[in-house]
């Protein structure tokens, strides 16, 4: 690998650091890399070391980063709740109706399916009828 290529590789790795780090150490780190390359250290190994360092730098907890971490966690939690609520919403009336009938159907008797009273099909939506379990066993 020739010198310009090596320099480009190291500079690319250095760009992976947070801006705060680059302002503080950027020039010095580039010069250190140039000295190490001159000594015969492979540029790829230097770039790899900087890449690992950059990953650590991003992952290390910082006082200023706590707020954004909390904000991200809250956003993820809110999205998860929203998706869960969206998925559960169609099943909610059915579950409520089942809960209302639970005490009444402690012992189910065989017979014809009976519509559950209290569940009114919504206007303009597909009719949903919930049938009591009819299997001749306690349920």
């Amino acid at each position: 690998m020739d010198e310009p290529q090596a320099t480009r590789l190291v500079e690319t790795a250095l760009r992976c650091y947070p801006a705060r780090w680059r302002r503080r150490h950027g020039e010095e780190a580039a010069e250190l890399a140039a000295l190490l390359i001159r000594d015969g250290t492979p540029a790829a190994s230097i770039a790899w070391s900087y890449l690992v360092g950059a990953a650590r730098e991003w992952l290390a907890p910082r006082p200023g980063r706590r707020l954004s971490t909390v904000a991200c966690a809250l956003l993820v939690a809110a999205c998860s709740l929203g998706v869960s609520a969206g998925l559960l919403a169609p099943a909610a009336p059915a579950r409520a109706a089942s809960a209302g009938q639970a005490h009444a159907s402690a012992h189910c008797r065989p017979g014809l399916p009976v519509p559950v009273p209290g569940v009114v099909p919504a206007l303009g939506r597909p009719q949903v009828i919930i049938w009591e379990a009819v299997h001749g066993r306690s349920c």
Binding site: W21, H25, E28, A29, L32, L36, L51, G53, R56, E57
Partner: protein, 114 residues
């Protein structure tokens, strides 16, 4: 977050959890200020360990945050680093702890007849 004591007296072993690279950097700085390249060369001679530049800067940042080293005004584009009084005290405590551990290990090897 500086954990060292300004008076330089011994406290708990704060270097126990900072990693080997940070301890090597502190040992290297114990005889005077050095910049990054000099630190890498010195640690290579001292301990036979070749620190990668990414590891070195990670250790320098950690030690600086703990108040165990400080950065001196830039000389050309390089920042020399210097060990602080709390840094020297922390290093002393850590080396004492390593000595005790080493002595205990040797004693047990003798007792075990290995």
């Amino acid at each position: 977050m500086a954990v060292g004591r300004r008076d330089g007296r011994a406290g708990p072993d704060v270097l126990r959890r900072v990693g080997e690279a940070s301890v090597l950097v502190l040992i290297s700085l114990a005889d005077g200020p050095k910049h990054g390249y000099a630190l890498i060369q010195d640690i290579k001679e001292l301990a036979g360990v070749e620190l990668g530049p990414g590891t070195l800067y990670g250790a320098l940042d950690r030690l600086e945050r703990l108040g165990l080293i400080e950065s001196l005004p830039a000389d050309d584009r390089r920042h020399p680093y210097r060990i602080t009084a709390p840094g020297a005290a922390a290093l002393r405590v850590h080396l004492d702890s390593l000595e005790r551990l080493s002595a205990a290990g040797r004693l047990r090897l003798r007792l075990g007849g290995i």
